[in-house]
């Protein structure tokens, strides 16, 4: 179960990496505002934390 949480966190994080790697005006719209950027990062961190708790 913790593996699934880590994978979900990783996929969200991979999307975040993709978004921030693009030039500003070519980014998906969710990356145009700080709330979007930090929101995605928080979602990834949440799943990673759940994965960590499940692994203990």
């Amino acid at each position: 179960m913790h593996i699934i949480s880590f994978i979900v966190a990783g996929l969200i994080f991979a999307y975040w990496l993709f978004g921030i790697s693009q030039p500003r005006y070519n980014r998906p719209m969710i990356f145009w505002k700080p709330t979007g950027i930090y929101g995605i990062l928080l979602a990834a961190a949440f799943f990673a934390f759940v994965g960590y708790l499940l692994s203990k």
Partner: protein
């Protein structure tokens, strides 16, 4: 040759918010600013300043906003062409390597835990992330023209 309204809609459905006349007016401005449609990369490209504009964010631009955006970039180019070209070169290397790094990350993410202990799997993912940020700072941030 410029793309048709329908072709642009297929690439960026958000352009539906703008009428064909508005889109045509925006395309006129883009062409006046020296960009031409690159059919192979499906984006507008200005060879003088080595700058491409994809269709994703095009719906956010009005002709005036686009001209402002272009003028700002062009001033950066005029102020220090060498630094600007270095940055453009760094960006082209970066844009070639980013998809590979992200694909490597996803492959490792989905398959790494099958062949590695969880601890080493997470470390390998961490190494890819560190490599990502190292390359970003080396090719993009360090070459960016300063004000």
């Amino acid at each position: 040759m410029r793309p048709s309204y329908e072709q642009l809609l297929a690439l960026n459905p958000l352009l539906q918010r703008r009428s064909p006349e508005e889109v045509n007016s925006l395309l006129d401005t883009i062409e006046e600013c020296g960009y031409s449609w690159d059919l192979s990369q499906m984006m507008f490209y200005n060879s003088e300043i080595s700058r491409g504009i994809r269709t994703q964010g095009l719906d956010m631009f009005t002709p005036e906003k686009f001209r402002e955006h272009h003028n700002r970039i062009y001033q950066e180019y005029v102020a220090n062409p060498e630094q600007y070209n270095l940055h453009a070169h760094g960006m082209s290397i970066w844009s070639r390597w980013v998809p590979r790094l992200i694909i490597l990350f996803v492959i490792d993410l989905l398959g790494g835990w099958l062949i590695l202990p969880v601890k080493y799997w997470l470390i390998s993912l961490g190494i890819i992330i560190v490599l990502f940020f190292f390359m970003k700072s080396f090719f993009v941030d360090a070459t960016r023209p300063r004000d």
